[in-house]
C-alpha cells in the first residue's frame, strides 16, 4: 500500500529565494502531520506543491501513488484543501458557495447540508460570505475543503489571525473529524499548541528544510524532566537592562536574557535543588522578582535551541 503523500527530494525557488531545499518525507494513511515553522520557513510553498498548485523545480511528489502531471483530475477529487487566505465571492451566501463547490464534485444538496452542520454554519447559511467574521470564513473554507470527503486534507495555517475562541472552534471540528474518519491531515502552522493538539507527527521547518521531525513525545524525549523557568525582574528602570544582563552573566547557571522584553529564562533538570539555588542567587545579588513561571519544555524551546529564534517573532 502506498503512503498517502510521498515527497522525495523536492526543491523550489523563486527568483533569488530558495523556498524549499531538498525536503523528503512520507505520510501514512490516517496520520495527522504538522509542518511547524516560523513565517518564511517554506511551509506554504511545500504544501502548495503537494496541492498541485505549484510544481517543484526538482524532486517528485506523489499522492496516493499518483503524480499531478498525469492524474490531476483524479487527485483534485481525492484531496481537500484550504489556502492560507481565501476570500469568497462576496455576494454569494454560505449555502450557495458550498452548493457551487459541491457541483464541481458532482455532489448534491444533501452533502451541502451535511457540510453546513459539520462546520457549524447552519445558522449562517443565508449570510453573504463578505459579511462573515474571520472565524466563520475559516470554517467555510474548512467546509469547502471537506465537502468531497477527501482522503487527504491539506490546511495552510487554518487558524492564523483568529481569536482564541474561533481557533478552538476550528480545532474541535478537526478533532471530531480525526476521531470519525480516516482522512489524513497535513497542516501548516506556526502555533506549537496547534501542532501538538491536532497532529501526531510534527515536522519542524526552517529556511526551506525540515530540521527535526517525529512524534511529539519523541521530539521532546529526554527533555521531559527539564523545565523552563521564565522570569522578569522588579526594580528601578534606571537600573538598566545592561546592568541586569551583567549581573545575570555571573549566575552559576546559564540564563538567557532578552534585553528587549527584559525577560530571562533558564532550563533546570532538577527543580528541587536548582530552584532554591536560583532564589539564593537572586537574594545575594539583591534582585527582586516581578513574576516567574516554571513550565515543561515545549516545541518552541526546541526550535529556539536549534535556531536561536522563536516560532512566533
Amino acid at each position: 500500500m502506498h503512503p498517502v503523500v510521498e515527497v522525495a527530494d523536492v526543491y523550489k525557488s523563486f527568483r533569488t529565494v530558495q523556498a524549499v531545499c531538498g525536503v523528503s518525507f512520507s505520510i501514512e494513511k490516517g496520520r495527522s502531520t504538522a509542518l511547524l515553522g516560523p513565517n518564511g520557513a517554506g511551509k506554504t510553498t511545500l504544501v502548495e506543491m503537494i496541492e498541485g498548485i505549484q510544481a517543484p523545480d526538482k524532486g517528485e511528489i506523489r499522492i496516493l501513488g499518483k503524480n499531478w502531471k498525469s492524474h490531476a483530475d483524479e487527485l483534485h477529487r481525492a484531496i481537500g484543501l484550504s489556502l492560507q487566505e481565501t476570500r469568497f465571492i462576496d455576494k454569494l451566501t454560505v449555502y450557495e458557495t458550498l452548493r457551487l463547490f459541491a457541483s464541481f464534485y458532482d455532489l448534491d444538496k444533501s452533502r451541502v447540508e451535511e457540510s453546513l452542520d459539520l462546520v457549524e454554519l447552519s445558522g449562517k447559511r443565508n449570510a453573504y460570505t463578505v459579511n462573515l467574521s474571520g472565524g466563520q470564513r475559516q470554517r467555510l473554507a474548512l467546509g469547502l475543503s471537506l465537502i468531497n470527503r477527501p482522503q487527504v486534507l491539506l490546511l495552510d495555517e487554518p487558524t492564523t489571525g483568529l481569536d482564541p475562541n474561533a481557533r478552538r472552534e476550528i480545532w474541535s471540528i478537526l478533532l471530531e473529524l480525526r476521531a470519525r474518519s480516516q482522512t489524513s491531515l497535513v497542516l501548516t502552522t506556526h502555533y506549537m499548541e496547534e501542532a501538538e493538539k491536532l497532529c501526531d507527527y510534527i515536522m519542524i521547518m526552517d529556511q526551506g528544510r525540515v530540521i527535526k521531525e517525529g512524534r511529539l513525545d519523541d521530539l521532546l524525549a529526554g527533555e521531559d524532566e527539564k523545565k523552563v523557568i521564565e522570569f522578569t525582574l522588579a526594580g528601578d528602570r534606571a537600573h538598566d537592562s545592561n546592568g541586569w544582563a551583567d549581573v545575570l552573566k555571573d549566575a552559576p547557571f546559564h540564563i538567557q536574557w532578552n534585553p528587549q522584553t527584559l525577560r530571562g529564562s533558564l532550563v533546570v533538570s532538577d527543580m528541587e535543588s536548582e530552584i532554591p539555588q536560583f532564589f539564593s542567587f537572586l537574594q545575594n545579588q539583591q534582585l527582586r522578582l516581578r513574576d516567574m513561571e516554571c513550565r515543561r519544555k515545549t516545541l518552541d524551546d526546541l526550535f529556539t535551541s536549534m535556531t536561536g529564534r522563536r516560532l512566533i517573532e
Binding site: 496541492e51 498541485g52 498548485i53 505549484q54 483530475d73 483534485h76 477529487r77 484543501l81 489556502l83 487566505e85 481565501t86 476570500r87 469568497f88 465571492i89 462576496d90 455576494k91 454569494l92 450557495e96 452548493r99 457551487l100 463547490f101 457541483s103 464541481f104 464534485y105 458532482d106 453573504y128 469547502l144 468531497n148
Partner: protein, 380 residues
C-alpha cells in the same frame, strides 16, 4: 466523470455568476440607467430644435457714420424686424432679430454695436463668431472659415442682408429638413451606445471581475477542484451575453418610446452581430485579464483598451472627421466594426448578407483573443 461538458457544474457556475452580478446595485445603474441617461441627454441636446442665439459684432464705418445712406441695410433690417435688446453689453447698444423658420428652427441674431478692437476680444472669448463691418464697398463679413458655426451664421445673415426684400421668415423656403427616420442624431447615437455598452460590460464585467477573483485567491481555490476551467470562462461569457441583451433591450425600448426609434433591417442579422460583438469583446476581456492580479494594473489595462475605442470608433460623432490616414485603422477597430454593423441594420435596413462580413470579423477577433488569452492565462 471525464465528460467534456458537465451541465450541472455549468449551470451552477452560470447561476453563481448571475447572482454575483444581480446583487451589485451598481450594475443596474451603470449597465441600464446610465446609458439611458446618456441617450436622453444627448438625444435631447442634438435632436430637438431649440432656439439658437448667435451674437454678431457690428462695426460702423465711422467716416460715413453721419450719412443716412451708409448704415441703411442694417438700420433698415433692425428697424423692420429687430427690437432693442433689454440688456446692453458693456454699454454697447444691442439689437435682436429673430428669424422664425419652421424648418430650421428659430435663430436669433443679437447685433452688438462695437469697434474692431472690442469685436476681436469678443471673438477670442468665443462670445461671437462673426464680425460685420461696414465699408465703402458695402458690408464685409469676418469669420473663421473652418468654424462651421460661423459659416452657418454667415450663410443665414448674408442672405438676410443681401439686399433682397426677403422677409426673414422665408429665407429657408427652399430647405427641406431631413427628419426622416434614421437620419436624426439619435438614430446614429443609439446603435453606438448599444455597441459601447457591449464593450464596457464585457471589459469591466469579465476582466475586472476576474482580476479581483485572482487577487482574492478565489481563482486559485476554484481550480484546485475538479472544476473545468473552460466551464468557468464559458459561464462568465454566457452571463455577460445575457446581461448585455437585457441592457441593450431596455435601452432600445426606452429609445423607441421616447425618440420613436425603430429597427429597419433584419432582426436576425442584429442578433448575429450582437452575439459576435459579445464574443469579440469577451475574448479581448479574457486576454486583458489573463495575467495581472493587481486591480490597479487591471484598471489601467482595461482603460487602455476601452478609452481609445470609445473616442475613435464613432460612438457619439462620426469618425469620418478624423484625418484620412487614420480611417483605415479606425474602421478596423472591433468597436467600429460592431457599431457600424448595428447602425447599418438600424438605419440602413441591412440584412444578414450585408452584415455577415463584420460579424465574421468580430467572431474571428473573439476566437483569436480568447485562445491567446487562455494560452497565457494565469489561474494562480
Amino acid at each position: 466523470m471525464n465528460k467534456w461538458f458537465q451541465p450541472i457544474q455549468m449551470a451552477h457556475l452560470v447561476l453563481a455568476h448571475f447572482k454575483e452580478v444581480r446583487r451589485q446595485p451598481a450594475v443596474i445603474f451603470w449597465g441600464i440607467i446610465f446609458p439611458i441617461l446618456i441617450s436622453l441627454g444627448l438625444g435631447l441636446a442634438f435632436t430637438r430644435q431649440a432656439e439658437v442665439e448667435r451674437q454678431v459684432a457690428v462695426i460702423a464705418d465711422e467716416t460715413k457714420a453721419e450719412t443716412h445712406e451708409a448704415r441703411s441695410r442694417i438700420e433698415v433690417l433692425l428697424q423692420a424686424h429687430g427690437s432693442p435688446a433689454s440688456e446692453t453689453q458693456a454699454g454697447m447698444p444691442q439689437y435682436k432679430v429673430t428669424i422664425e423658420d419652421e424648418a430650421l428652427g428659430r435663430t436669433r441674431f443679437v447685433f452688438i454695436d462695437t469697434d474692431w478692437r472690442h469685436a476681436i476680444k469678443l471673438l477670442k472669448q468665443g462670445s461671437i463668431s462673426l464680425i460685420l463691418k461696414e465699408t465703402d464697398q458695402g458690408l464685409k463679413y469676418h469669420f473663421d472659415p473652418l468654424n462651421p458655426e460661423a459659416q452657418l451664421a454667415y450663410l443665414k445673415l448674408s442672405k438676410l442682408l443681401s439686399g433682397q426684400d426677403t422677409p426673414p421668415s422665408s429665407i429657408s423656403s427652399g430647405v427641406e429638413p431631413l427628419t426622416v427616420e434614421g437620419a436624426r442624431y439619435i438614430d446614429f447615437l443609439i446603435p453606438g451606445l448599444i455597441s459601447m455598452g457591449v464593450m464596457m460590460s464585457c471589459m469591466w464585467g469579465i476582466s475586472y471581475g476576474m482580476i479581483e477573483k485572482r487577487s482574492k485567491k478565489m481563482l486559485r481555490r476554484m481550480v484546485a477542484t475538479p472544476m473545468r476551467k473552460s466551464h468557468f470562462l464559458m459561464a462568465l461569457m454566457v452571463v455577460r451575453i445575457v446581461m448585455n441583451f437585457i441592457e441593450a433591450g431596455i435601452l432600445f425600448l426606452f429609445a423607441a418610446l421616447v425618440f420613436d426609434i425603430s429597427i429597419q433591417g433584419s432582426l436576425f442579422a442584429l442578433f448575429v452581430i450582437f452575439v459576435a460583438g459579445n464574443i469579440a469583446f469577451g475574448g479581448i476581456a479574457i486576454l486583458t485579464c489573463s495575467h495581472t492580479a493587481n486591480t490597479e494594473v487591471g484598471n489601467g489595462l482595461i482603460n487602455a483598451v476601452v478609452l481609445p475605442m470609445s473616442v475613435l470608433s464613432g460612438i457619439f460623432f462620426s469618425y469620418h472627421n478624423f484625418p484620412d490616414w487614420s480611417l483605415p485603422v479606425i474602421e478596423k477597430l472591433p468597436l467600429t466594426v460592431l457599431a457600424d454593423g448595428i447602425r447599418r441594420i438600424f438605419i440602413q435596413g441591412a440584412g444578414v448578407a450585408e452584415t455577415a462580413v463584420p460579424a465574421m470579423i468580430l467572431l474571428a477577433v473573439g476566437i483569436c483573443f480568447f485562445s491567446a488569452g487562455l494560452r497565457v492565462f494565469k489561474w494562480h
